[in-house]
């Protein structure tokens, strides 16, 4: 790892949270970073040629409680906030890719939970924080409560030469994008040049990873078809609580870990169930991601960090 990258990522100090240990392995800071998993398109060991970096936080499931799955569930969002706040060189922006809160059937409680999440997230030092809903946040009321706290569920923004497009595939509880939003996507893409770098954020996988496990978007192929004419498209998504790389044509789709609980690999078990807490390996399978973006080359070097 290049020295300048270690310096940029140096953690100043992390406060131990309750009985939980942030770096459960007990290793020091630098060895911890040395073990971060590198996975990207940039040449390993080379001097960084990125213009900026952003952080993806996903599936925080604020409000989730089950000590058998995560005995520190009430601390996890603050833990993630602390971890990103401790970055000496703050990212240009942070993107939460959905399931900000854990499902609650009561409308009032859902609003209380979204508000409490927003309060904790407001402690992030990063100057720009973006959000999008997951099905836990938006599927029961078609995004009504989410919009009150965070605004539009699908939108686009440009940053340093990259077009970022946020697609909502959860406000429709059937897991669809819908005709209206697909038309918006088509009109939005029409403004971009065919070689422009485009990053798509979405919650559910756009492709049919596993419909039996609800790991798909019903009309996701239509979105992929709209994206295919563009040469430099990359998708970052959540929902499946693990890192997975999948390719549709020339488009890479990268899923993110959750900061609350992990899920099994697709069809690795007969029934999809949350992976139980392992006291010998606390926070195993949880984490967040940094993405070093190079707009000129439309490359994205991912660095996965455990919690």
């Amino acid at each position: 790892m290049a020295t300048n990258e270690i310096d940029r990522r140096k953690f100043l100090k992390l406060v131990g949270i309750g009985g939980g240990v942030v770096f459960a392995s007990g290793l020091g800071l630098y060895p911890r970073f040395a073990k971060a998993a590198w996975d990207g398109t940039g040449p390993s060991g080379a001097a960084r040629s990125t213009d900026f970096y952003f952080v993806q936080l996903s599936d925080t499931h604020f409000g989730f409680t089950d000590p058998l799955i995560n005995p520190n569930s009430d601390q996890m969002l603050q833990l993630a906030v602390d971890a990103t706040n401790a970055l000496e060189d703050q990212p240009d922006f942070i993107m939460f890719t959905g399931d900000l809160t854990d499902i609650v059937d009561n409308d009032r409680e859902r609003r209380r939970r979204l508000g409490a999440f927003k309060t904790v997230a407001s402690r992030l030092r990063c100057p720009m924080v973006r959000f999008m809903p997951g099905e836990h946040d938006a599927s029961l009321d078609e995004g009504a409560a989410y919009k009150e706290f965070f605004g539009d569920t699908f939108y686009t923004f440009d940053h340093k030469g990259i077009h970022f497009v946020v697609i909502d595939n959860v406000s429709d509880p059937s897991g669809s994008i819908g005709a209206t939003q697909l038309a918006w996507l088509k009109a939005t893409l029409a403004k971009f040049r065919k070689n422009d770098p485009i990053v798509v954020f979405t919650h559910r996988p756009l492709f049919a990873l596993n419909p039996d496990w609800d790991w798909w978007t019903k009309d996701g192929q239509q979105a992929i078809d709209l994206l295919m004419p563009y040469a430099n498209v990359t998708v970052f998504y959540g929902h499946i609580h693990q890192n997975l790389t999948f390719t549709t044509g020339h488009i890479n789709h990268y899923s993110a870990r959750s900061t609350m609980f992990a899920l099994p690999v697709s069809n690795s078990v007969p029934v999809k169930k949350k992976i139980p807490w392992d006291a010998a390996r606390p926070y195993a399978g949880l984490g967040f991601r940094e993405i070093d973006a190079n707009p000129r080359k439309a490359t994205y070097k991912k660095k996965e960090f455990p919690l």
């Binding site: 499902i103 609650v104 059937d105 099905e135 029961l140 509880p173 059937s174 897991g175 609800d214």
Partner: protein
């Protein structure tokens, strides 16, 4: 190279699927079909979840699915079924079970905290 038995099995397999995919949704019961009411609610199907929906091989049926509360889904990849059930309407799912077996289905419309467990079983005897 597939043998005759394998090809024959595939034919039965696909005929089951073809019948299930045909005329689902709003088409009411057809002559010769046995109608089986199914009620969906947060978070089970009755019958289906606590007790399986039992069909007889060779006897066409139509599941008349309604919901007691909110929108639900009825999805089975094995049976090629992907339907939505909305309040106030009956969703008809036509099945011609030409092959014995046990088939799983689940709610495919995110319906709340118990959604992940909203599953059911169809047994063809």
């Amino acid at each position: 190279m597939l043998n005759v038995k394998q090809i024959s099995s595939m034919g039965l397999f696909f005929s089951f699927f073809a019948a299930a995919a045909f005329a689902n949704g709003s088409t009411p019961p057809q002559p010769g079909e046995i109608e089986i009411p199914v009620v969906a609610r947060q978070f089970d199907f009755t019958p289906g979840t606590a007790s399986a929906i039992v069909l007889r091989q060779g006897q066409p049926v139509v599941l008349s699915v309604t919901t007691q509360d909110r929108k639900h889904g009825f999805f089975s990849k094995e049976l090629n079924i992907d339907e939505t059930v909305v309040p106030g309407k009956v969703t008809y799912i036509h099945i011609n079970p030409t092959h014995a077996g046990t088939f799983q289905f689940h709610c495919s419309v995110f319906c709340g905290s118990g959604h992940e467990g909203m599953q059911g079983t169809i047994v063809v005897q």
